[in-house]
Homo-oligomer: 104 residues x 2
C-alpha cells in the first residue's frame, strides 16, 4: 500500500527512525538514549498525525509484527522497542549499528 511504501522509504532514507507517542515515557526514554549518544533520530509522533497515526501503526504492525511504541529502525533494519534498544546498548552492539547506518 501507499503507506507501506512511505514507511519503507522513511526508514531507508534516514539512518535512525523512532515511531513514538509524545506522552509515552518509554518513547521518551529511547529518544533520550539516542540524544546521549549524539544521534539525531527522525522522530515521528504517531499521536500528532490525526487519523494517519493509527493507520501508520497498523502498517508498522504488518511490517514488523510490533503494535507497540516506541518502534525503532536503524539503517532500515527493525530493532524493536525501548527495552530492545537499551539491551543492545548495554551489550555494546548499538554503537556499531549506528556507525554503520550513518556511514551509509
Amino acid at each position: 500500500s501507499r503507506l507501506e511504501e512511505t514507511v519503507k522509504k522513511t526508514v531507508t532514507d534516514n539512518p535512525v527512525v523512532v515511531y513514538s507517542k509524545s506522552w509515552c515515557s518509554y518513547s521518551t526514554e529511547v529518544k533520550q538514549l539516542f540524544k546521549r549518544l549524539g544521534v539525531q533520530p527522525l522522530v515521528i509522533e504517531l499521536d500528532q498525525l490525526g487519523p494517519q497515526g493509527p493507520q501508520l501503526q497498523k502498517v508498522l504492525e504488518r511490517l514488523t509484527g510490533q503494535h507497540t511504541v516506541p518502534n525503532v529502525f536503524i539503517g532500515a533494519k527493525h530493532i524493536g522497542g525501548c527495552t530492545d534498544t537499551v539491551k543492545l546498548h548495554r551489550k555494546g552492539e548499538l554503537e556499531p549499528l549506528l556507525l554503520e547506518a550513518s556511514g551509509k
Copy 2:
C-alpha cells in the same frame, strides 16, 4: 465531589493503591516492583472504566497535582509516579512506608 470522596476512601481503605493504564509500561513497571516486594496493591486501570476513567484522572489531578499515570498512594499518602516510587525504593525509604501502611 462524589468522585473525590470515592478516591479519598479508596486510598484510606487500602494500604497501597496504583491508578494505572493497562497498556502503559511505566504502570506495568511499578506494579511489578510491588509484586517483587510481596505487596498486593489495589490496581485501578483508568482505561478500563469507560467514561469514569477520564473523570477519575481529573479528580486525581485536582487532589495530587499529577495528571500522569501511574499514580501511587501508600497509607493514604500520595507518593507520585513510577520514577518517584523506584527512587524511594533505591534509597531504602519505600519498605518502611509499606510496613507502616500495612500495619495500620
